[in-house]
């Protein structure tokens, strides 16, 4: 119950982590099934229909429901602490964001048991995703599930923007913000601009499918290429929504374990902003083969290649952060160090793809599959592992086992390289992506087998991480404030896990790497910027949960509003939009309650503020 009503950013972080981990597991199982199917030519482990559902759900789940929430988990756990805040700007809205994400994700995955998962690819290109060619409710689950989950993301993004703009501790100017906070800030800005595009796209597709509109139907004046533009105007920035936080994590972990400040801080900030900006200008590089014409292809080729420049700046800055430092290879740092070359590998193939005539060959082949997995898995997932090992003690008060962490790193890393390196060659040898099987004797057999074996190894790595969590959870909560001893930013100046109110007294920030600076000056804690006083806290409330349940019900109702249940009562309920209305009533009712009933929260008085962390 406590968990359903909480509005504490630290607990919401844990909720995001559990839910994201759960969906990540589902997406991982789907990936393994795909790799079993492709292990040998003409395999019939799954049917063609199930295969298309697997690839669609694997992509969709991993991106929207797996890694995004884990990013949000880390952001929630870390950002308020890094800027010296007591919570995010809108704790209530933060909870709402989590619950809508969760219910959207659940709705999407219900499709497996409610008559067919979406099967048109995670890009859901029309007309394949139209009701004419995808007759089950699969794509409806996709449009409505993602719509609801996307709402949560958008809410979360706006919340972080507000938090970072308004709640920084005294002295923390923008150019003193830790890099992870910076990337969260930029990421949230991208979310703010990119998610409305997919929202509109999903609404249009829902209208086409459920209400018989014709936005994408050529016969009735629509245009399927329009969907591609809308999708990628969102979809490309989405890639940066994913990778920028990983950049942030790496920029925290490497300096800590090299005992040096981040090299070229201001160029890092500048590069991040530039990447975000360029990220919006290059969406059509996913559409070179759609036939946009020579001029468009040339322009999008060049703008895409330009992203290599700010990315290069970052890579070299990381390398030179370590230069002259004292590098410690903890598990967290292994992942961070492993991230650099792997991500570079994904980056260079990205530049290769940017060359439009060459992309005519690369596009929709396993070369592309290899490329984006190098970025998303080799970049982002390694980054997340690094971040989780790094901040785990801060979140839970327990340090993950270093030995197991290192084992996780090596199995995962080797498995990853085995899986995806060979896929570059598969693509170049003529293997297109999203195929359920392939004829023998095309030289595809051996490399596919290698790739599948690698995937199993990655699975083993993930399981080791889970084992590590279980073992660690049984240990006592005894992590010190600054378990890595070289923590540089504010979160390390308070207990692990932090008390409910984070900072008893808001700290005064005197420079970049505020905590490190104080330590170098011989202090053991931050100089406070205010006297000890009563701390205002927001009240716990079940309303966000209730609102999301309402949206969930409305979504289900809308999806089945055209169905015949062979039962007059059910038909009446769904076909007259009664279920939709009930769902919306629940949501709006909860909203009304929230606005009408004034809740001023509560206070923690100085005598109740004990320095030890609360247990989570």
């Amino acid at each position: 119950m406590d968990w359903i009503t909480t509005v504490d950013h630290k607990k919401i972080a844990i909720l995001y982590l559990i839910a994201g981990g759960f969906f990540f597991g589902i997406g991982g199982i789907e990936a393994i099934l795909i790799r079993i199917q492709l292990m040998k030519p003409m395999n019939d482990f799954v049917s063609a229909q199930v295969f298309n559902e697997l690839i669609t759900m694997h992509g969709t789940t991993m991106i929207f429901l797996g890694v995004m929430p884990i990013i949000f988990a880390i952001m929630n756990a870390v950002v308020p602490l890094q800027i010296g805040a007591r919570d995010v700007a809108f704790p209530f809205v933060n909870a709402l964001g989590f619950w809508t994400f969760l219910f959207g994700g659940l709705l999407l995955n219900l499709s497996w048991i409610m008559g067919g998962a979406p099967d048109a690819g995670w890009t859901s290109y029309t007309p394949l995703s139209s009701s004419e060619y995808s007759g089950t409710h699969g794509v409806d689950f996709y449009t409505i599930g993602l719509q609801i989950a996307g709402l949560g993301t958008l809410i979360g993004g706006i919340n972080f923007l507000a938090t970072i703009i308004t709640m920084r501790a005294p002295g923390m100017s923008y150019m003193r913000m830790p890099m992870f906070t910076w990337t969260t800030f930029i990421t949230s800005a991208i979310i703010l601009f990119a998610f409305p595009a997919i929202t509109v796209g999903l609404v249009l597709l829902t209208f086409d499918r459920i209400l018989g509109a014709n936005f994408f139907d050529v016969a009735n004046g629509g245009n399927p290429v329009l969907w591609q533009h809308i999708f990628w105007i969102f979809g490309h920035p989405e890639v940066y929504i994913l990778i920028l936080p990983a950049f942030g994590i790496i920029s925290e972990v490497i300096p800590t374990f090299a005992r040096k400040r981040l090299f070229g801080y201001s160029s890092m900030v500048f590069a991040t902003i530039l990447i975000a900006f360029l990220g919006f200008m290059v969406w059509a590089h996913h559409m070179f083969t759609t036939g946009l014409g020579n001029v468009a292809n040339a322009l999008f080729s060049i703008s895409t290649m330009l992203i290599a420049v700010p990315t290069g700046i970052k890579i070299f800055n990381w390398l030179f952060t370590m230069w002259g430092g004292q590098i410690r290879f903890t598990a967290a740092n292994l992942f961070a160090v492993g991230f650099v070359p792997t991500f570079v590998m994904g980056g260079v193939t990205g530049v290769m793809l940017a060359s439009a005539p060459a992309d005519f060959q690369f596009h929709d082949t396993y070369f592309v599959v290899a490329h984006f997995h190098y970025v998303i898995v080799g970049g982002l997932v390694l980054g997340l592992f690094s971040g989780l090992h790094y901040w785990w003690p801060k979140m839970f008060g327990r340090i993950l086992s270093e030995t197991l962490g290192k084992w996780t790193f090596w199995t995962f890393m080797i498995g990853f390289q085995l899986t995806f390196f060979v896929q570059h060659f598969l693509g170049l040898m003529g293997m297109q992506r999203r195929i359920v099987t392939y004829l023998p004797n095309q030289d595809f057999d051996l490399l596919n087998l290698v790739s599948s074996v690698g995937a199993f190894l990655m699975g083993v790595g993930v399981i080791m991480f889970l084992v590590n969590i279980v073992i660690t959870t049984r240990k006592p909560v005894n992590a010190p404030n600054d378990p890595w001893e070289d923590g540089r930013t504010l979160e390390w100046s308070i207990p692990s896990p932090p008390p409910e109110y984070n900072f008893k007294q808001t700290p005064l920030v005197r420079g970049i790497d505020a905590y490190w600076k104080e330590k170098m000056a011989g202090h053991t804690e931050m100089t406070p910027a205010e006297p000890v006083g009563s701390i205002h806290m927001p009240s716990a409330t079940p309303l966000p949960f209730v609102m999301s349940v309402g949206i969930f019900i409305a979504g289900l109702g809308l999806m089945f509003s055209k169905d015949d249940f062979g039962n007059a009562f059910m038909n009446g309920l769904f076909n007259n939009y009664i279920v939709v209305i009930i769902g919306l009533l629940i949501t709006f009712g909860a909203m009304a309650l929230r606005s009408l009933y004034d809740d001023h929260g509560w206070h923690i008085e100085p005598e109740d503020q004990d320095e030890k962390g609360v247990r989570t």
Binding site: Q49, L128, T289, G291, G325, M345, M352, Q361, G430, D443
Partner: protein
């Protein structure tokens, strides 16, 4: 300067080895790395240039990373705090400028190739015009200059430029013959795509559908067969000859009523399904069941493939729209009879 050249000299053999390695990959009729025509060659050249640049980048980054990781690991008893370096303006400018330079090196030929290969040949009288229409899950090829329509096997004369106009009859597909040219999507009417390629050498090249198009996406293969100009002319004539129907009149009647409602042979039948003229001489049945050919180990006798298809089209290509001949009321013997007739229906043009 001298030193840099030394570095380049060391990298060059590496590149040579690498391109050897690359070109060792895959089949000649299928691999992107073994281009068989000028368009694919141009694209491959770009790929080689970009790979070369990227390998240089990788080597530099990996070398720095390896050096740093080995040289600056924390040793036991090392407790003094390292100097906190803010950054280095000169260095940062260098690693902004160098990538920018590399990007320009790649961008210039990229743009050149885009415009060179993106030429519109649809009005060119010397080019063979081919209209490609993709269907779930088969390919239709129409030659407007010759008034001929065929399916699955695209017959082209060597050396001639083939100018394509691509569209789809249903969902999006993508037309891809890796060893001849990169892919191009087939969009619904209204956004017809154009592109072209040519094949200097005789041979059969494997084509694939590269855009997820439904359950049998993986099975939506086709072949491009490049033959001499004389053979091509003969093929056109044979295609235009009157239909050959089964000798057995009863079987011919069954074939006409059951199959020609969708398919066509010669001057008879309809355009809904793949044109069956000369089907027995094609490279594959339904694009995916490879027929035996001389000098090739793969494939089954065309009759076996034909029977396999006709006895259960769904198991070969799940989700395709052809009705099962059994459901059309044909007996096993009749199906075998039609299979035999189709397997022997060959055009003599090579």
């Amino acid at each position: 300067m001298m030193k840099q050249w030394q570095v380049a000299k060391r990298i060059l053999p590496l590149l040579a080895v690498f391109s050897l390695l690359l070109s060792a990959c895959g089949r000649e009729d299928l691999s992107v790395m073994k281009p068989q025509g000028p368009v694919a060659q141009g694209q491959y050249d770009l790929m080689k240039l970009s790979i070369a640049i990227m390998i240089v980048v990788l080597i530099i980054v990996f070398a720095i990373a390896a050096y740093v990781l080995i040289r600056f690991r924390r040793r036991a008893g090392q407790n003094e705090v390292p100097e906190q370096v803010e950054g280095n303006f000169k260095l940062e400018v260098i690693w902004t400028a160098i990538p920018l330079l590399l990007v320009i090196v790649l961008a210039v030929p990229t743009v050149q190739t885009i415009f060179a290969q993106g030429e519109d040949l649809s009005k060119d009288k010397n080019a063979i015009q081919v209209k490609v229409t993709s269907h779930q899950y088969w390919w239709e090829f129409t030659y407007p200059q010759y008034d001929v329509t065929t399916s699955q096997d695209l017959i082209i004369p060597t050396g001639k430029k083939i100018a394509f106009e691509l569209k789809t009859a249903d969902v999006l597909h993508s037309f891809w013959v890796p060893s001849l040219a990169g892919k191009m999507d087939t969009n619904p009417d209204g956004t017809v795509n154009k592109f072209s390629f040519s094949a200097p050498n005789e041979g059969v090249y494997r084509g694939k559908c590269a855009e997820l198009c439904g359950r049998s996406h993986a099975f939506m293969e086709f072949k491009v067969k490049a033959v001499s100009q004389e053979s091509f002319d003969r093929w056109v004539n044979e295609m235009k000859a009157p239909a050959v129907l089964p000798e057995d009149t009863q079987l011919a009647e069954k074939f006409k009523t059951n199959c020609l409602s969708c398919h066509a042979v010669g001057d008879q039948g309809g355009p809904v399904a793949p044109n069956l003229t000369g089907i027995g001489g094609k490279e594959a049945v339904a694009g995916i069941l490879l027929n035996q050919r001389e000098g090739q180990e793969e494939g089954n006798p065309v009759l076996d493939n034909m029977k396999e298809w006709l006895h259960d089209p769904q198991s070969v290509k799940p989700g395709n729209t052809m009705p099962n001949p059994k459901d059309l009321g044909l007996t096993d013997e009749e199906i075998d009879g039609i299979a035999e007739y189709l397997a022997n229906y060959k055009l003599d043009y090579e």
